[in-house]
Amino acid sequence: MSDVRVAGVGLTPFGNAPKRTSRDLFAEASITAFEDSGVSRDDVDALLYGNFMGELSEHQGHHGPLMAEAAGVRAPATRYESACASSGTAVRDAVMRIRNGEDDVILVGGAERMTNLGTAGATEALAIAADDLWEVRAGMTFPGAYALMAQAYFDEYGGEHEDLAHIAVKNHENALNNEKAQYQSAIEVSDVLEAPQVSSPLGLYDSCPISDGAAAVVLTSEEYAEEHGLEAPVSISGTGQGGDRMALHDREYLARSPAAREAGEEAYADAGVDPADVDFAEVHDCFTIAEVLAIESLDLFPIGEGISAARDGRTTADGETPINLSGGLKAKGHPVGATGASQIAEVTKLLSGKHPNSEFVEGATTGVAHNAGGTVASATVHVLEVSE
């Protein structure tokens, strides 16, 4: 079985670019990824591409071949759709194909165009990641679903909005140096507490923004990397995926994410690491409460303790386990289809010392990327390690 190397990564700035098409965004990300990798486009065996709302935002289906063309790649291309975990699932399949010896070089990534829909349109588009009949038609929105989980968490394990506010403050702080982040501005706990309500107890500053952006990653087999003398010190050493019932009300737990736990356990076992070996993680914090559920699901913090981790300084840049050093979805932005691949890019840069926040994880060998779809009916987890 081949080791899977991250040969190169590319990100567009995440943010407000209502005029940019997703093909333009993905072209930019892929150019950067190819330049970073030193891999020839001719060697690419496949493009695996994540996108969620292309039909609604651009009247465009069948993204695979379009994006291969945009990236200048002549290879079979497939679109992956798993709501906000779309490119996480694409990365997972890419890893498995390289390990199986099926392919040597895969371009994997994703893009999303969202801001041209406006707030109402994007809210509607995101809502379709939930059960249309039983959730959306009852008026549930995507922030509303996470608000239901937040309230359930408070009732079951305690905690309050102020605890969540510390997560938003931390992730904005982390994004200050990230030139690709949507928000490079510090906020305070009081800003979060005083922001307009979106879906109680969550307010505007508990929510990730609506974003445009793309991410691309060039993955190669170990043999290819060695033959071509690539500088690719980071490997994806573990992959896992979990699933759960579609509607939140059908889940066993309202305040836990078993799909992410399943994905995490599988990825840890695959890589042969323990949660205690994890130096830092990029997790899917589409809402502040989502970061709590993520770090508990990944076993980085016991159930019921994730809520206070940011407030206690345990997940801050200088804490024991920094979470979302990129700024997370909250401050870096969340172009849905690009998010999973962008996390792989951020973890790679952090591990190889090429990230503006690398100083906080100097000497780190193990990072984790956690990507969730819907209210975590889908989840992928990847372990990345520095190869010896």
């Binding site: 707030t119 109402a120 349109g121 809210t123 509607e124 809502a127 009949l133 039983w134 959730e135 959306v136 038609r137 009852a138 008026g139 549930m140 929105t141 922030p143 509303g144 608000a147 239901l148 989980m149 937040a150 309230q151 359930a152 009732d155 307009p196 309500q197 979106v198 879906s199 109680s200 107890p201 969550l202 019932r245 509607a247 939140l248 009300h249 059908d250 309202l254």
Partner: protein
């Protein structure tokens, strides 16, 4: 969004039944409960599902007050949405007949099919007992 001619098999029939106080759930031979439309028990894969009457009242397990709705609920906001347990199933619904700010976990509710002020479409609702 459906035009009035179109119906979603299983779901619209359930709303019809709920409007006549005959709300039901699907039960499999192993006592798992689920909501229609469904041909297979999602817990065990059993394909013999029967309609059983839903308990008259349920209990709110979690709730939220939504201020930023989808376009289909623009005129309705702010409104409370809750997940309530009715016997073997949990259901998501909009809480009506009470100030949204007064909704709380543990509140006892019954099913009340209401309509969206924005679209006039039927909405699965809960009202305090």
């Amino acid at each position: 969004m459906n035009d009035s001619e179109t119906r979603d098999a299983g779901f619209d029939e359930w709303l019809d039944a709920a409007e006549e106080d005959r709300a039901y759930y699907l039960a499999c031979p192993n006592d798992h409960g689920s909501l229609p439309p469904r041909r297979v028990c999602p817990d065990c894969g059993a394909t013999e599902l029967e309609d059983l009457e839903l308990p008259d009242s349920g209990e709110i397990k979690t709730f939220t007050v939504t201020h930023v709705p989808t376009p289909a609920f623009e005129e309705d906001a702010p409104y409370a949405t809750a997940v309530a347990r009715f016997g073997p199933v949990r259901i998501t619904g909009q809480v009506v007949g009470i100030d949204p700010e007064d909704v709380e976990t543990g509140l006892e509710v019954e099913i009340e099919v209401t309509v969206s002020e924005t679209t006039g479409e039927r909405v699965l609702g809960f009202s305090p007992v």
